[in-house]
Symmetry: C2
Subunit: 174 residues, 2 copies
Amino acid sequence: MELTRRLTDAAEKLFDRYGYTATGMDRLTKAADMSSRTLYKHAGSKAQLMAMVLSERDKRFLCRTDVKSVEALFDALKDWTATEGARGCLFLRALGETGGDTPEITAAVEAHKAAFAARIGDIVAMDIGRDDPLLTEQIIVLFEGAAHAAIYRGNGAVDAARVAAAALVKAART
Amino acid sequence: MELTRRLTDAAEKLFDRYGYTATGMDRLTKAADMSSRTLYKHAGSKAQLMAMVLSERDKRFLCRTDVKSVEALFDALKDWTATEGARGCLFLRALGETGGDTPEITAAVEAHKAAFAARIGDIVAMDIGRDDPLLTEQIIVLFEGAAHAAIYRGNGAVDAARVAAAALVKAART
DNA sequence: GTAAATGTAAAACGATCACTTTACATGTAG
DNA sequence: CTACATGTAAAGTGATCGTTTTACATTTAC
């Protein structure tokens, strides 16, 4: 549906820019250019709308990080922040704003983070030719850290993360 | 003032647990056991209250990370999450919830992150005997990443970060 | 031709928001 | 004795919250 896509696209921008709780439904209806009746017919509730937004974002993230090396992963992160800005992980922010008390949101965050961790594990395995749980955890930490440190440190944080990741990968390969 | 401390302590817990925007003033007055009149006399506004909370938290953070080595830094992080839980950086969460549009909060976050980066720089310098901007940036990223990945990966994220940090420090020392 | 589906605009819902005010109690300093 | 500072409880401020409803227009399908 074109309407649903228009809604989730507008909602993602507003939630990301102003926060989930601080974004009111009237602002959402205006941005998506639809009546509140239609919004509720398509989304059900504000929490479900956020869950839809997170699900779309998860898909987009997995597309953008469909890469074969750890270095390419951090290039992808740099692309992301360049095109969409660096405001931290929208999933963790939504979880924090709702205290984990909103089931739809909590479920969407858990699904994304599981997929994210699996994706990193795959990239690490492709890069060094075998599974490596510790290196995977370290790359997860470096990626998450770069995404959040970039908020106040800028691109330098992503660069530092990539260099660190490359050193760890090199050490793991030998 | 004992009252002010009682207020900021209660507010920090509520903001951390439920989020800044989702925490109402009546919940705050009840938790601090004071009238709203007294709350406003001491805090001025909700945004100023959050700024006070962040300022207190900044002090506590700097006390807890008054260490001399990078390894001790990650031990301190593990202590922190063990005693206070892992819900991500309250400063970045407050910034995200307000979209950077609340001056008192934005200022408190910037002050803390500047102090944090300086602290990491000091620890790195003490550990390897000289300044190292790249290593400092990498430790910032690892610390920030461990704090956020710990939300969904648990203590393993902090352990992985410490091991990675130790390897980077060792490489920088030789 | 008519009924269902899908949309709009706009009013109304009760609840809650951050914040202020009124009215009153208490201790304390000049 | 008085005056002020500091606190409480509770009602009231207008605005905004997420959500539902009413009333009506348009398109699609049998």
